[in-house]
Amino acid sequence: MSKTTIRPAVNKPDQQNGATAPAKGRPTLEVIGLKKSFGTVEVLKNVSLSVAKSEMVFVLGRSGSGKSTMLRCCNRLEEPDSGDILLEGEQITGRGVNLDKVRRRIGMVFQSFNLYPHLDARRNVTLALRKVLKQSRDEADTRAAAALARVGLADKAGNYPSQLSGGQQQRVAIARAIALEPAVMLFDEPTSALDPELVGDVLGVMRELKQDGMTMLVVSHEMAFAREAADRVVFMADGHIVEQGPPEDIFTNPQHDSTRAFLSRYSYGQ
């Protein structure tokens, strides 16, 4: 599990955003001193985290530990109260930032898929390509076909979300995100709304993305997958990151009490 290995990046380097290529060793995504409260409840208490290029980082923790909020702050679906977020070294928090430009470089996959029910799979993918990247219909269709092929759904381009299984819908959602060639992908519990037998397909797609060098930050309860595929596991409790490291270390030798409690509960559960 060496995260320093340089893999051939299948994604073309993103030329549209005009950002300079990240300096060697500079993380793709950096979260520094993030704080967020809902009313009087402090959900994130000073969270810092960085994700290196082509790294897959798994965030574990009980529900209510703040992991989803942290993820949603990364593309500012939630507005953090304070703290900085840097994408390829570029500050994306603060007032002057063009959020729409930033968000196209951060892909997001939701627990509930959030596919557009009035559009078929292809048009779910092409909407942002056409309206955000201003591609022509042909360009967008070509890129959508490639993205759908990448998630194994080349033949479902004409199907509407209601005609797809949950697993297929989530894969279309992944295609929708990767078609924009984002610098990093955020996964917010991508498999927890799925029937058990459909989880494998989605994880398979995520595994392939990782092999292709995609940078990924994943909130999920798929322990076995985290252990096998993640480069690093981050454990959150109570709005803090209490522990992080290579999956083997975290799973076999957790240092923190809450991590131990969480892992033992899960291993009993399985």
């Binding site: 593309n75 729409d100 968000r103 892909g107 959030n114 029910p117 955000v132 959602a173 929708r176």
Partner: protein, 221 residues
Amino acid sequence: MDQLIQQFFNIDIMMRAWPTIMRGLGVTLLICCAVIPLGLAGGLIAALASTARSRWLRWPAVALVDLFRAIPPLVLLIFVYAGLPFTGIQLSPFVAVTVAFLLNNSAYYGEVFRAGLISIGKGQAEAARSTGLTQRQTLVHVILPQAIRNVLPDLISNTVEVVKLTSLASVVSLGELLHAADLARSVTYNASPLTLAAGVYLVLIWPVVRLLSRYQRRISV
């Protein structure tokens, strides 16, 4: 029985009233062409304002919508047509009808659109924004198409009400269908022109009413 037919279904009188009534129908359709698009546009604006995040926008919008839902359209029409001239603003019957119905219809269409907008889960906007679509693009390409589809029966049924409402224009002597028929009635001392007008309304509206009932049954099964 004979008298009933003579009074309500007098073919002779209907034939004579026919050209007048057809002209009236033309005016009715013209009013519809002005009032329906304006009402839809006003309703959309009302709905966007009454679902806005800022309460300084939301509350006045909701209050205005409720106000215009509480005032009978005829009162609004007479206020605009007969009240405004006192301030020196003299509107033609057509403009008065358009203005009064714009206020009334915007409130009703606004409620329909609002129901559609709040029927769309937050996740749709989040997904759209996460791909870099702007707020406006999200509204136009993601939220509205779904919202409109969800409330299409209500939009159509409200439009039926708008078409029926155009009959009020007869009160301000705008020569639409009902006014034309009533004029023929007063000339002939016979109700048959009104029956004919009712028949025209039925031909115009009944198919839509039937369709809506069908649709309602389909979704309830």
